[in-house]
């Protein structure tokens, strides 16, 4: 391994070792030495714009950030020439940056420019500061750019071009006074900026800042602009040098620590599991600051994680339990609400039996809370009627993985996706649904030449950039994948040795592929056979392949089957159990993985141990001191049917907006209306809550402790940022107090006690401990008793009795048929700015400004055929309901296929008013993606539902990076080394 090669060099006469490929600066930092540097950032690498890290190597002045260490190299940091060069570099930076630290909102101990100036002990600057002739750009709702404070280090550009890879920012070096520009130099809010916040996070000073910080972070920064400017002027006029200024600003910065709280939390907006510090002052959120130690995302975020938290202070938050009395809900005390629920549950169980009660847990809640939901169901209410919302998304993927490989989770980590040779993305839109995952994919492609195959109906961001973008007919992915698999085996391209050693069932599997010839596949999928061959060839030629998939695969009648086919393909090509390979069903919500792991499922106890296994039941009966139910439980889908049949009488729903997110909403809502008791635990008064008898006011993630498990099977702790708002309570307390009213005698006083109980029972979690998850530490299950975790699965075989994986023949299930009058296909999914039905994100002002509503995407062909254009209003009708939707004409969709983002709580626009009750045959995940509709035009044109603040309206400006060579070739540019030499000569 190249990493083990050591290089030895001398630094100011002392020996130092570096690893292969490390630069001088990296070696110094790795050795714990402090050395000036501003533009270098560990997540971005050398940018070479600031020149503050100049050193002398064998007589030459070079940048330490960009010069690789060589054996025997002699590095001098203290030579006169190197010192002059660094001082010259800093002088040029300070010409571009006004040091008014004490009254600057970025003076929080982590300002790189401030700290470097101070560390270099700079007392005077040689070139006076001058403002740049540009206005501050305040147009964006979440951040500002102040050109006059910008030192043109290009960190933001590098982050935008090569880490986030949205390719919006660049430095225009050709101007007399350069600046950062957005797209082709437009206001930030009218650019293709996706508001991910990378640029703001990496800015080494206050040029790019979160607006939520302005005037709030410092003690003196809230002063009105005019006296503030005068104070800055006075300070600068009087101060004879910077040392004194720094002493004062240091004191002020330390004082800020007294009132700004920095708390680590884990994001709740998707399954990626970003973790970051959140800065607060009382109940104000000042900013989200991601950290390099964050195991999944490091400094990356998306717009929701970086800027989408204001909902916690919404005046619409539920702050007290609500009890239905007559035609209205009344705020009541917790005692009254919980006593009522306990009494009604007991009555219903006495009258109709234990299985007349069901519980649905939440993928937004913690592992500990999910564990308590299933424990409440099984140990207290004596029923296996418990499920969670993974039923709506990734249950089919879990099923496919468990059948073939053994564990129901991603086989590796984001790191594996980043280092793979080839990525195949099927029915997933990571750029909008798993934004931080998509950053690593785009980066791997742009910087390291990773190949991408995207199989999708819609030309989303990654499809647009892919090496090969394939648009099969809706619902035919299984045929496509099976034909590719068959072709690979027919060519002898499969990994014969891997299959012989690690995989069972090859012969039967090969026989099952017989129908999937290229001709057949071309006919069914509409994908030309040459393209199928091309896919097979790309897999064959790649040293490592990962396949990512999501709802485009799973939300079909054959979701489990297609997931199985994907796993089979990976197994026969040996793309499992090695770095850079594997299966990645991208989980949609922050704790979908955890909700399943915790046993919120009718058939599984925690850790996927089967309920129908007597040994498992016996283990839990001993631990919990109760007898467990043996009757078969209902999943979400079956619960709705059981309500209609009159068998299920009471339902407790924790944090799920089922009235909007389950398919065929009308049918679901009719069911709710039939219940004897509906208890909803939520943060807001949701559509589902309208049907409730009791609504219990819950506290969101920022107001409690616990753990989440992301799509990488990574368990991470969240810390409490705020006290619960009003009388709201964390779900684990609500569940505990309800259980105790039903005679449970639960004594938990902190989520850590619940986690220890889980670890003591679920084999998968044996080594999980609260203290092993401290700070940014995390564990990827399975976790062994000594705390060793498993970032990459199956390196030592598969968890089946003989240690081998299983090829499971998958059968093609044709998508749901509709009457011919429903002539248009309607696809649905997410958009970047909003989450789920939008109960949280539409309450964040800036997000609503960016994207105020959902809209129907119609292809240019269809628009022409129907005589409509962007801004038209149409009625969309399915056999189950109808919607009234504003239209956006876009070539992201093709022909008679349309697309509707699901992110709305408006019944006139919500997709599930239209969807059917059809579902995956094995797991009952609704077939949301199998929907044919017809269209009636209400109004052929009108105002576009997309505002000009929507990034989709604008064109990015791709660049290789900051292009520092353009700076170097500017007329009149003198390298700092030259300037320093002149000065050294005097």
């Amino acid at each position: 391994m190249s990493v083990d090669v050591k290089r030895t060099f001398t630094l100011d006469g002392s020996p130092l070792t570096a690893t292969e490929g490390q630069t001088i600066l990296q070696a110094m930092l790795a050795a714990g030495l402090d050395f000036p540097h501003i533009c270098y950032h560990p997540a971005l690498g050398p940018i070479q714009t600031c020149d503050t890290c100049m050193v002398e190597v064998d007589g030459d002045l070079v940048r330490a950030c960009a010069t690789p260490v060589a054996d025997g190299m002699s590095v001098r940091t203290k030579s006169v020439a190197a010192r002059y060069a660094r001082k010259e570099a800093m002088d040029r930076i300070l010409k571009n940056h006004d040091l008014y630290c004490t009254v600057c909102d970025n003076n929080n101990g982590n300002c790189v420019v401030h700290n470097t100036t101070m560390a270099m002990d700079i007392d005077h600057q040689s070139y006076p500061f001058r403002e740049k002739p540009y206005e501050v750009d305040m147009s964006h709702p979440f951040y500002r750019y102040d050109p006059s404070q910008c030192i043109l280090c290009g960190r933001c550009v590098e982050a935008c071009q090569n880490l986030q890879v949205s390719e919006v920012l660049s430095i225009d070096w050709d101007r007399e006074i350069p600046r950062v520009i957005w797209d082709n130099d437009v206001p930030i809010n009218e650019s293709s900026c996706v508001s991910c916040g990378h640029c703001v996070t990496v800015c080494p000073c206050n040029a790019l800042m979160e607006k939520s910080m302005l005037g709030k972070a410092g003690f003196l920064t809230g002063i009105e602009p005019e006296p503030l400017q005068r104070m800055i002027d006075v300070t600068k006029a009087v101060e004879p040098g910077y040392r004194a200024i720094f002493a004062i600003s240091e004191v002020e910065s330390h004082m800020r620590n007294a009132r700004i709280k920095r708390t680590k939390t884990v994001c709740t907006y998707c399954g990626v599991g970003c973790s970051f510090d959140i800065w607060t002052k009382d109940r104000d959120i000042l900013k989200v600051e991601p950290q390099m130690e964050a195991p999944t995302n490091q400094i990356s975020t998306c717009v929701k994680g970086k800027f989408g938290w204001d909902f916690v202070n919404s005046p619409e938050r539920l702050t007290k339990p609500l009890l239905r009395k007559g035609d209205a809900f009344h705020e009541v005390s917790w005692d009254e609400a919980l006593d009522f629920v306990a009494k009604r549950l007991t009555e219903i169980r006495q009258q109709y039996g234990d299985d007349a009660v069901a519980l649905i847990s939440s993928s937004k809640c913690t592992n500990e809370e999910n564990y308590l939901v299933q424990k409440l169901a099984r140990a207290v209410l004596h029923t296996n009627n418990v499920d969670n919302c993974s039923r709506y998304c990734q249950s089919p993927a879990t099923e496919g993985l468990r059948r073939t490989m053994g564990y129901g989770g991603d086989t590796g980590s984001l790191h594996d996706l980043a280092i793979a040779d080839l990525l195949i993305i099927v029915g997933a839109n990571p750029a909008e649904s798993h934004p931080v995952f998509s950053t690593r994919m785009r980066r791997a492609k742009k910087k390291y030449g990773q190949k991408h195959i995207v199989i999708d109906l819609r030309e989303h961001d990654l499809a647009h950039r892919a090496d090969l973008f394939v648009r099969p007919n809706p619902g035919t992915d299984l045929v496509l994948i099976s034909a590719v698999t068959k072709y690979i085996i027919d060519q002898g391209w499969h990994d014969d040795e891997f299959v012989r050693q690690h995989v069972d069932g090859f012969d039967a599997f090969v026989r099952s592929l017989e129908p999937y010839t290229l001709e057949y596949a071309e006919r069914v999928t509409g994908v030309p056979r040459d393209t199928l061959v091309q896919i097979a060839t790309m897999i064959h030629e790649a040293k490592s392949t990962c396949i990512c998939w999501a709802m485009g695969v799973t939300q079909h009648k054959g979701g489990s089957e297609t997931s199985t086919a994907i796993c089979n393909l990976l197994l026969v090509t040996g793309n499992v159990g090695r770095p850079g390979t594997g299966a990645y069903p991208l989980r949609g919500h922050n704790n979908v993985q955890g909700a399943g792991d915790m046993g919120c499922s009718p058939v599984y106890m925690p850790g996927y141990e089967r309920v129908d296994d007597p040994a498992v039941r016996a283990k839990y009966e001993t631990a919990w001191g109760v007898e467990l139910p043996t009757s078969k439980g209902l999943d979400n889908h079956e619960m709705v049917d059981a309500i209609h049949e009159g068998k299920l009488r009471a339902l407790i729903i924790q944090g799920e907006e089922m009235a909007l997110v389950d398919s065929n909403s009308h049918y679901v809502r009719e069911a709710f209306a039939k219940l004897d008791l509906l208890v909803v635990i939520d943060v807001f008064f949701s559509k589902t809550a309208e049907y409730a008898d009791v609504v219990l006011a819950a506290s969101p993630s920022l107001e409690k402790e616990g753990t989440f498990t992301n799509t990488e099977r990574r368990i991470q702790r969240l810390y409490q940022v705020f006290e619960p708002l009003g009388d709201s309570r964390p779900d684990w307390i609500i569940l505990r107090d309800l259980a105790n009213r039903l005679g449970a005698n639960w004594t938990y006083t902190h989520p850590s006690e619940i986690l220890e109980e889980i670890a003591s029972l679920a084999v998968l979690m044996q080594g999980v401990r609260w203290d092993r998850l401290e700070g940014y530490r995390s564990l990827q299950w399975p976790v062994h008793p000594d705390g060793t975790d498993t970032p990459l699965l199956y390196t030592n075989g598969f968890p089946f009795p003989n240690g081998k994986a299983r090829l499971v023949p998958a059968k093609w299930i044709e998508p749901t048929a509709f009457a011919p009058e429903y002539d248009l296909h309607l696809n649905n999914g997410r958009m970047l700015e909003h989450f789920h039905e939008g109960n949280l994100t539409y309450r964040v002002h800036g997000l609503k400004e960016k994207v105020p509503t959902t809209y129907l995407e119609v292809s240019p062909e269809l628009a022409k055929e129907r005589g409509i254009e962007t801004g038209a209003l149409v009625r969309i009708i399915s056999p189950y309901g109808e919607l009234k939707l504003p239209v956006v004409v876009t070539d992201r969709v093709k022909g008679k296929q349309m697309y509707l983002p699901m992110n709305t709580s408006n019944d006139e626009e919500a997709i599930n008013i239209l969807t059917s009750s059809e579902s995956d045959e094995t797991t009952h995940t609704p077939a949301y993606k199998e929907l044919q509709v017809r269209m009636e035009v209400i109004r052929p044109c009108g105002e576009s539902p997309m505002t000009r603040f929507n990034y989709r309206m604008h064109k990015p400006n791709p660049q290789p990076g900051v292009r520092v060579e353009r700076k170097w070739s500017r007329r009149g540019y003198v390298p700092v080394t030259e300037a320093a030499k002149e000065k050294a000569r005097g």
Binding site: D91, R92, K95, N96, H124, S126, Y127, P128, R130, L152, W173, E176, I177, P178, I223, E224, P227, R230, M231, D233, V234, A237, V238, E239, P240, A244, K320, L322, R324, D327, A328, F329, H330, E331, V332, R669, F672, A673, K674, L675, D676, L678, F685, K687, E690, Y691, A692, D693, K967, R970, G972, Y973, V974
Partner: protein
């Protein structure tokens, strides 16, 4: 059987009661501090400090404007700058040298006073004779060294006088 309803009857919030509860809780938690604090408050009141502080805080923005206005006049900023300059000057002189020079100056003053009391006139020859005195010679040597140093200091450009404005980036 529950039809969907949206009406929520919020329990009227007794804000007075809530505020009282918060204050009571705080009083119990920080009893010692509050008693001490009250003592301090009383002392301030007796010295007439409270009305001044109150007026300052209440008129904060206006006062700040006046202060900044006053302070930012050139005379004042120059004065402040000179003050800081003097402080800086004193901070660069090694204290032991300073002590020696002060000591020597004191002796010189002593002799000068004696001389003026005697009220004697010095002729040209007296001056030449005095130049040969080693004590006078030491003083003159020091004076010349001082003039040399000050002259070379004057030759250096002042920090604020730099002509070079540097490259744009």
């Amino acid at each position: 059987m529950a039809q969907p309803i949206q009406q929520i009857e919020r329990a009227p919030r007794d804000e007075r009661r809530e505020a009282q509860a918060r204050v009571e809780e705080a009083v119990v938690r920080s009893a010692d501090g509050i008693v001490d604090g009250l003592g301090l408050l009383q002392a301030c009141e007796e010295k007439g400090l409270i009305p001044i502080v109150r007026a300052l805080v209440e008129q904060g923005d206006a006062v700040l404007r006046v202060v900044v206005e006053a302070v930012s006049r050139k005379g004042v900023t120059d004065g402040l700058k000179n003050l800081i300059g003097i402080a800086q000057f004193l901070s660069v002189v090694p204290p032991e040298d300073m002590e020696r020079i002060f000591h020597a100056v004191a002796r010189g003053l002593e002799r000068a006073t004696e001389q003026s009391e005697a009220n004697e006139r010095m002729g040209v020859y007296d001056v030449l004779k005095a130049l040969r005195d080693p004590d006078v010679g030491r003083s003159l040597a020091m004076l010349f060294a001082f003039l040399k140093g000050m002259g070379s200091g004057l030759a250096e450009p002042g920090e604020s006088a730099h002509k070079d404005r540097g490259p744009e980036v």
